[in-house]
């Protein structure tokens, strides 16, 4: 991987501008997810938020992660949300029973979560600097490793360093799957 990034132009300024624009859209959409009075609209605003996360991955040149975000979250998770909503009840127009009396608790938990996450992120990555440097597409090195380099790095860490957490997660998902079937089936 090292060497690929050499002699290339930085795009830190456009990256920051793009991030700012996306962040505004994502925050606005996230607020709409919880304030909208229509369940289907909430799910569709969630599409904007999750799509924005995917675009952020793209900005960080984590192409594979971004595509996974689009495929899994937009193409499957939100679709299953919509599917579930439409199979049970999906009234057009405004529903008034979407709110409940736990607003204050919600605010407290939200602030708490923000504090914990910010602390953890600043503590772990506060000293790191992001380098927004474009691949020099003409270089032979970039043709050989650059275009797939990031994807290969991810697969190397999943199936090398993080193999056991990865497998444990998949077993956990399997357990959840079997649990759902056991709960859903009456016989």
């Amino acid at each position: 991987m090292t060497g690929v990034l050499a002699a290339s132009t930085s795009f830190a300024v456009p990256a920051n501008v793009a991030f700012a624009v996306m962040a505004v859209f994502m925050v606005a959409a996230a607020v709409r997810v919880v304030t909208t009075k229509n369940v289907v609209h909430a799910a569709l605003w969630l599409v904007v938020v999750l799509g924005g996360v995917g675009l952020n991955y793209l900005l960080l040149q984590a192409e594979f992660v971004a595509m996974t975000q689009f495929l899994v979250y937009l193409g499957a998770v939100v679709v299953l949300f919509l599917f579930g909503i439409m199979l049970t009840r999906a009234p057009l127009g405004v529903s008034d029973d979407l709110d409940n009396s736990q607003r204050r608790l919600g605010v407290v938990i939200g602030v708490l979560l923000l504090a914990v996450l910010s602390f953890a992120l600043v503590r772990s990555f506060g000293a790191d600097k992001l380098t927004f440097e474009a691949y020099d597409q003409g270089a032979e090195v970039a043709r050989a490793v650059g275009e797939n380099g990031r994807t290969q790095a991810i697969s190397d860490s999943i199936f090398g360093e993080y193999l056991i957490p990865f497998e444990v997660t998949s077993v956990l998902l399997l357990a959840a799957l079997i649990g759902a079937i056991v709960l859903a089936r009456k016989d």
């Binding site: 595509m67 439409m86 057009l92 275009e147 380099g149 994807t151």
Partner: protein
């Protein structure tokens, strides 16, 4: 292309603009050609009739007449419909279709963006059309539209899996997700040392090719997998309330997706734009021959899709789900295992 062609140096945005416009024209031309060739003429000959004959020689301008007709129609929506979502839905479906073409290469340098994750990107953006279909079904305020949308979502999710799993076999064999690398692996490959025709992956991945084409048929909701728009049960499914230009968008999107998936299938399994490397053709020649190669292969594969569409009767909903989950996914998984083992052995 940006560096050498005609000695003209283009800025990045200029070359991107040219690529996007050329890609758009190519996609629309191919889509129109496919509609005329198969939907108007091929099916007519299969049914012993002539098809459109009046507009232009042999009815070749029929499509323009139909587009003109659709553009003039009034934009109608039902009284209860959610107008924003109703209007956005065709746009979502169409962008999902057009984004697919961004990474499909048509020559050594003829690609809008040569992404490292090529084929994975295609699968990711093509899965977004489900969102548009669900939005359309719900926002139409029509029970048939909602039923059609739900059927479509169930079907597209079920067949997304065999599609992805079938592609994996090719990716393992080529050792790359990048479509240009997959093309190069086929044109530069050899069959037991003989490199006369390269090594098109259909020879080794014929199981994956079969699964891919059946899954594509289902993803396109073409008969025998057209339950989402089954006219005898649901009138026209999620499209039932759409008229005029919005219906036209669905129509273009359906056939452009057919062209797109056929182009992806020919890139993955039939060698794509390239001719075997052993024939020794230069990049300059391939800039011209490449687009012709990929277009021909894609049009032929769309022909297979439409041949099946006009020949087979519709499945039942439960038969469709059974086929995906109980047959195609296990076979695709077995194909991956066998490919992986053979890759290690050889």
């Amino acid at each position: 292309m940006t560096r050498a062609l005609l000695g003209v140096e283009l800025a990045y945005w200029q070359s991107t603009l040219i690529r996007v416009l050329a890609g758009l024209v190519a996609v629309l031309l191919l889509t129109g050609g496919v509609v005329y060739l198969y939907l108007f003429k091929f099916v007519s000959f299969m049914q012993s009739r002539l098809g459109p004959m009046e507009a232009g020689p042999y009815g070749s301008l029929q499509l323009l007449a139909e587009v003109g007709k659709w553009l003039q129609k009034e934009d109608i929506h039902t009284e209860d419909s959610d107008r924003t979502i109703f209007g956005l839905a065709p746009a979502v479906v169409l962008s999902s279709t057009f984004l697919m073409f961004v990474v499909i290469p048509a020559g050594p340098d003829l690609v809008i963006a040569n992404l490292g994750t090529g084929i994975y990107y295609v699968l990711a953006v093509s899965s977004l059309s489900v969102l548009g279909i669900l939005m359309a079904g719900w926002a139409s305020a029509n029970k048939y539209a909602l039923l059609g949308g739900l059927r479509a979502a169930g079907q597209l999710i079920a067949y997304e899996l065999p599609l992805v799993l079938a592609v994996l076999g090719v990716v393992i064999q080529a050792g790359s997700l990048n479509l240009q690398d997959i093309v190069a692996a086929q044109s530069g490959g050899s069959i037991f040392g003989w490199d006369g025709i390269g090594n098109p992956f259909i020879l080794t991945q014929f199981v994956a090719f079969g699964i891919f084409m059946v899954a594509v048929q289902a993803e396109l909701t073409q008969t025998p997998f057209d339950m989402p728009i089954a006219e005898s049960e649901l009138v026209a499914g999620y499209q039932v309330e759409y008229t005029g230009i919005r219906f036209l968008v669905y129509f273009i999107s359906e056939f452009a997706t057919a062209v797109g998936f056929a182009a992806v299938a020919s890139t993955l399994f039939l060698g794509g734009w390239a001719l075997p490397a052993s024939w020794g053709l230069s990049d300059g020649v391939m800039h011209v021959v490449g687009p012709l190669m990929i277009s021909t292969k894609a049009i032929l594969l769309v022909g297979v899709v439409f041949w099946a569409r006009f020949s087979l009767p519709r499945f039942r909903e439960d038969q469709l789900q059974t086929l995906a989950w109980k047959f195609m996914i296990p076979i695709a998984l077995a194909n991956i295992v066998v490919t992986g083992v053979l890759k290690v052995v050889f």
